[in-house]
Amino acid sequence: MITYKDIIKPENLVYRRTPLLTQKTLSFCPGCGHGTVHRLIMEVVEEMNIQQDTIGIAPVGCSVLAYEFMDIDMQQAAHGRATALATALSRLMPNKYVFTYQGDGDLAAIGTAETIHACNRGENFIIIFINNGIYGMTGGQMAPTTIPDMITTTSPYGRDTKIMGNPLKITELVAQLPGTCYVTRQSVHTPNNVRKTKKAIRNAFEYIKQKKGTCFIEVVSNCPSGWRMTPLQANKWMEENMFKHYPLGDLKVPSNENVKQ
């Protein structure tokens, strides 16, 4: 008879928690995409064996506690300023891998200037942009990326674009800038998408190694708590509504190279 002892052997191991995630229990809400993206970044850092050379930046928002979970050197930035910190770090230590991990309010509202100018200068670091169309940590207010008619605590009757302006497609914007080398939009709501996002993160780290310029990965994500939905409802709503405004796929890949997806 086969027992569990026969199965739990190193050669049968197909998946394990990367040791680059700390033992601390994730503080994100059930169903939230943050934890998955945290894991993917740390898996890539582990696979490339670059823990010693990687510095992450977590600014204000739900992403602020990333340093609790990632076992790498990290800095916490003021709201919106992650790419300014990253500019200094990557210029002062050009052989290190620097990434920022920012939400939509941070990156596309208060930090718009820093985002655009860092991308335009072609700073050699990675921007990981979690877009869930809402300010999660402060309780579900309208974000720069909130889609039309979407209900938030500060657009309780839905985002009326005549009054509240339009959602900002900042990823399309940075893709036009000469400094960005790789701009892609992904998601982590299905196993297939998780694999694609991981591949995109890996690509970005490889381009940074080759000093190709700014890599920008948007992850369209959910916010079950902020959206007042169950995790499953949130993923379905995201597919049906968010992806229309934020279609998945590569917006820019380094020239003379096809990125394998």
């Binding site: 916490q76 200094a88 002062l92 200037a113």
Partner: protein, 356 residues
């Protein structure tokens, strides 16, 4: 071999940055300090010492770049003038909260608002009492010559790294723009990454297998541990009292004491010499550090003089600290010009004579 040059205060500061082994400077143009970034770009230190020089998209970005570089243990600096320094205040508060060393130069101008591009000393409160949000202090130096614009750079870095606290050089449009002979100190080489890692074990240069990960943050959501952190900062500011510096001129037999800093001290130096020629026993105390402030020494001098005159190119800011120091022992008078207007030595002396 030391080198003597005729330079503007802003240029002397910039040259001193290169010579002090600064790793990065992040700036943004604003009058009257734009010569700092102009001089650095003309000297191209990125080709010699490897110093990073970047003209940023805003003062906000510049101070946050300082935060990033400082968090990895590098010697970083920024400069601006009053309105730009206001924009940097959030970042300065974060630097203080995260206990990061950095050098900030304010070549102050008249305000409030866009104000004027002419010199003023109306940023004293902002520099010495916090400026940004939260409980914190900066180490503040006030140069009164082009020589000090250069010499205070390595001093400010030393204190900033010793205490892991941002340091500010509070200058103004007079000191920044005027040209004087300056003896430049011998260049200090930039530290290697290995040296930085040794001297700054807290720096985020990448987690080594032999240590825990380093985290640079000012966030602590638990009120009790946040209070503990702020109390630790308080202890640090108390220890920083050891860095007190001031200069006295003719105070031994003074009957009347002037207290002035920076450009005003320079003007008041002249007041003292004119007054002495007229037989008036006037002395001058010049605080060189504005934080820490020479409360004790001013209190001692208050026992010997008939009254104290504070002059500032403002409505009167440091005068409050002088009054605190004097504890009501003698009258404390104030004479100020503001909005970019500057007093002459004779003007101050005439005012002083009305109080005899």
């Amino acid at each position: 071999m030391s080198e003597v040059k005729l330079m503007k205060g802003n240029e002397a500061f910039a040259e001193a940055l290169i010579r002090a082994g600064t790793d990065a400077y992040f700036g943004y143009p604003i009058t009257p300090q734009s010569e700092v970034v102009e001089y650095l770009m003309s000297q191209k230190p990125y080709e010699t010492t490897g110093m990073v020089v970047l003209q940023c998209e805003s003062e906000v970005a510049a101070i946050n770049m300082c935060y990033g570089g400082a968090g990895a243990g590098f010697k970083v600096a920024t400069s601006s003038s009053s309105p730009g320094i206001s924009l940097k205040q959030e970042g300065i508060s974060y630097l203080a909260g995260a206990e990061l060393p950095a050098l900030i130069l304010n070549v102050a101008r008249g305000g409030p608002g866009l104000g004027t591009i002419q010199p003023a000393q109306s940023d004293y409160f902002q520099a010495t009492k916090g400026g940004g949000h939260g409980d914190y202090r900066l180490f503040v130096l006030a140069p009164s010559s082009v020589q000090e614009m250069a010499d205070f750079v390595p001093l400010a870095f030393d204190v900033a790294f010793k205490y892991r606290n941002p340091a500010m050089i509070l200058s103004d449009g007079i000191i920044g723009q005027m040209m004087e002979k300056v003896t430049l100190f011998e260049p200090i080489p930039r530290r290697s990454l290995e040296q930085i890692e040794k001297e700054c074990p807290w720096a985020t240069t990448g987690k080594k297998p032999n240590r825990e990960r380093n985290i640079i943050t000012s966030l602590d959501l638990d009120p009790i541990s946040q209070e503990k952190h702020v109390m630790k900062l308080k202890e640090k500011y108390e220890k920083m009292q050891a860095e007190l510096r001031y200069e006295e001129i003719n105070t031994d037999d003074a009957e009347y004491l002037i207290v002035a800093y920076g450009s005003s001290a320079r003007i008041c130096h002249k007041v003292v010499s004119i007054a002495r020629k007229q037989g008036l026993k006037v002395g001058l105390l010049r605080p060189i550090t504005l934080f820490p402030f020479p409360y004790k020494r001013i209190n001692e001098l208050a026992n010997k003089v008939k009254h104290i005159l504070v002059t500032e190119l403002s409505l009167g800011q440091m005068v409050e600290d002088v009054k605190l120091a004097v504890e009501g022992k003698v009258p404390v008078y104030f004479y100020g010009r503001t909005g970019g207007a500057i007093y002459t030595p004779v003007e101050i002396l005439e005012y002083l004579k009305t109080k005899l």
